[in-house]
Amino acid sequence: MAKFILLFLKLLAILYTVQAVFEDQVGKFDWKQQYVGSVRFAHFDNQIQSSKKVLVATEKNVFAAINTRTGELFWRHVDKTGPEGNIDALLLQGQDAVMVVGDGRILRSWEVNVGGLNWEMVLDSGSFQSASLVGHQEHVKYVAVLKKAAISLHYLSNGHQKWIENLPESDSVDYQSVYSEGKGEVFVLGLVPHSHITVVVYSIDDGEILKQFTVEAPWMPDLQSSCSVIGKGMLTCVDAVVSSALTHCTFLPLQSIGLEVSSGFRPVLVSSQPNAARPPLSEFFLQIGPDQHVLLQLNKGQILTLRDFKPAMLVSFATTGEKTVAAVMSPKNKTASSINLFSAETGRRLLDTTLIFTMDPNGGKPEKVGLITNGSGFPGRVLWTREEALSDVVTMEMVDLPLTATQAELEGEFGKKADGLMSMVLKRLSSQLILLQAWLSHLWKLFYDARQPRSQVKNEVTIENLSRDEFNLQKMMVMVTASGKLFGIDSKTGTIVWKHYLDNVPSNAAFKLMVQRTTAHFPHPPQCTLLIKDKDTGLATLHVFNPIYGKKSHVTPPLLPQPILQSMLLPLMDQDYAKVLLLVDDQYKVSAFPSTKNVLQQLQDVASSVFFFLIDANQGRLSGYRLRTDLSTELIWEVVIPAEVQKIVTVNGKKANEHVHSQGRVMGDRSVLYKYLNPNLLALVTESTDQHQERSFVGIILIDGVTGRIIHEAVQRKARGPVHIVHSENWVVYEYWSTKSRRVEFSVIELYEGMELYNSTVFSSLDRPHAPQVLQQSYIFPSAISAMDATLTEKGITSRHLLIGLPSGGILSLPKMFLDPRRPEIVSEQSREENLIPYAPELPIRTEWFINYNQSVLRVRGIHTAPSGLESTCLVVAYGLDIYQTRVYPSKQFDVLKDDYDYMLISSVLLALFFATMISKRLAEVKLLNRAWR
């Protein structure tokens, strides 16, 4: 019976906290963008004329089919990250795409139309060199995989191995490519650098070596980039000379055909073999300079120059049916480039095939040209572009949109100093008139739009019409990607409003994005600062820009000659309302940005209360410093965690923009348990260096960042990372892998001051004599986790939810209520009064709590939460391979009418009541009159 009551209570609690998406809200407040990453291999599926697919394999270990008309994904397969999922080669034959994965470990074949797997084979170990389709008697039946020491031939239909052979002298010869032209032979080309080329010919039927010979080539450093098989059995290699060799060897100085390689440039060959069962084309491109390509033809051992392209950035071949065209992309001017098509056989330009491609100077460089050929001709405009840099977002911020011009006008009125009564009145009147005008035009627009069919109404988002809405629900998402490209995205629609490509960003850069000035200080533009730090050298640069327009600010950031250890944004503002950024260099000297006199003056005043900490993860040292008035620093505390035993994984403070509304919790007996709300608290996570599953552990230390006092310390034995942590209000939630029970576990720590508050007006780390009470509880979580954060609202009244990104692609919104260390094991009257859920070891995962319903977001790296103007609403952006934006209402929408509010019903009821009273009044009057007459 007790169990039953418990269950009932649990159910009640769950029902109470249920929050999910309604089916009709799909796509109303949320959007998703899917990415694949930067492309490594791309093939057009041109078996059927009407096919609209381009198949791409990317650096992110993603294999996807993209619609060539719209740029959307048909399907996408995401393999695991790291070298084990790395795609080494992609070959396309008919409806099958063959892929070599994980350094030649796995051979996969995909059915391209459905997007399902045909077969998967594990290959022998050995580092992968090359793969090629092998044709036999006009049919492509096999795929050959060349490894360092062996070559194997597999059936294309089922992946079974036909034969595997070892390569002769594989320890001295570097076999690099495999080739066949459909005559029952497989050619394997190997190279002994600076000595000779080895060619081994295998029989397709049984793998017997038919022929083996060498060609002297002492000048040859690398086979793959400088050699290519052209025409019927001709291996053409290029160095300072072009030579052709396969059955016989001839050398041909480039000068003899009138070509000259620009100095210091290694020439590259580009050729094409449209059908694996036939020999490659006899035409090929030779790149002889950074922007010069030559189309050449090999004809009976002679090389003819068909056409010289200069300047040409990229070249490519494309085949439709029997015809092959060459596409050449050449720069037109600074912002545009044109793509022209040429007949491959003659080098003549095809008519009406020029495409002007406008390139944003901020857009980065194109890397590959692909061609879609269809019967009707070439579409003369850009159909779509995909911003694949967004598959690698590193950090982001959400910035409020600015006011509209009219709103700004009104605001400006208040900002200025008074200049006479009369002019003030006039100004007031004029601004009111402007408002009226704006309102009228808005009404007109509404009316106008309502008359048109819905599909024709276009809500194009541009910088001009971006303005803050009444609840501040629409914001600008500033996203920083690993490649150094910045994006400004409208949070309502997902439209990219601006992009900016930063040059000379080091490949291993760490980014930190800070909002120095929000849009609230009207005449001054908003200002964001991006700190770009080279992880190896520690040298950093600052990029200051306007987050709404993406333009680089005219404010010149200081040059930072010294490596930067720490950066922090102070709540201080200069006279232009920009927050002060402090940078600590490796000499422990502090510099401020902006560093005007006003700022320095302010800094001197508050220096005694500015503290910061530095982490040295290698030595396990966490040290606290204080700022002196002359902007030097002073070490005040140091905590050393023995680096031999455990290493510091993360140090997590609280969010600066977080508000806590209630100081305590009301208990069942009407007393108050006060929260320990220390804004300087740091949560430090350590992992043991010993990875043995019996001895590994995860430690958590709570340290006061000002005094260095250790508030609490906990160790989870038989546990290991990866640890995800959320630190907010008076609680810390962290997640780890329990090696003993092989499951993910959550632990929550809550800190309370007790029944009395020591100093209720202000919190000072230096004056808190009592240590807080610490409560902790742990739970089992039935899934792995890829990212975690907590919801954030304007005033902190709304209850909190944890947002957990799962590897399955769902984003779970788990009420913090479930992670409450006061959850009782035995239900009492008091705990029921407090609305505590009885303790259950396993946390529930319900698909109703997935805020992104079936819109899977893969490989979530981070979840960003931002408050909106409505207390009930929190904006959420999950980024990883995909980007997903939505709104969540942790305590439902208590401050605004629901979006399905039935206006019709309420107005009809009101009207009905109104008429009913009128009628009954009339009837009552008649009755009274009658009675009076009686």
Partner: protein, 240 residues
Amino acid sequence: MHIERIPLLWLLLQATLVVTWGFNAEMDTGPSAGAFAQSNSDRFKIEGRAIVSGIKPQDWVSSARVLVEGEEYVGFLRTDGSFAVNDIPPGSYVVEIISPTFRFEPVRVDITSKGKMRARLVNYIKTSEVIRQPYPLQVRASGPHSYFMKRETWGWTDFLMNPMVMMMILPLLIIVLLPKVVNTNDPEMRKEMEQSMNMLNPNPELPDVSELMTKLFSGSKGSSKTGGSSKGARPAVKRR
């Protein structure tokens, strides 16, 4: 992991040595059979099949994946719904089939160092409990995911079936209809009714319920005023 690799590498090296030796001796031997066996001896594959009854596999496999222990190992579904996740070292793993449309129960698969496989139900609380499942895995979808909450719709039937409304309407019907059905003018009937009313209300001294309610409500409504009135009443009591 590292320690495991070194003997493997050594063995591989040995295998290749053997292979090259074999190669030199006679060309026809299946050369890297040794290497093949070795590389597979400590890496296994988890096989199985996912079934969604009533739906063709072609319609859902492109959006599905097989995740082993989070995202540690990833497998893909074939066009017939079967799958194999390769290259897995011995251990115990939770295998999940992830699809945005269909729900599949996870299965725990144990692989011994000799390559024996066992599938069992996932139980995170009692981790050692074994309830056997078939291996190769047969995972049946238990229906589509329910992501959405139902909207509270407003309909006349819902409104009328509401108990509060029923409680309001039924007495109304009785009040309106009863006098019409029963002839109240008949004196006999009236007498009978009075009797029955007396039966229901045996003690006429007790206050009427409705009267009590009105008193209660008027009292609570003017609670602030009652303080004043009670003060006024007190001297009256004293006077008596």
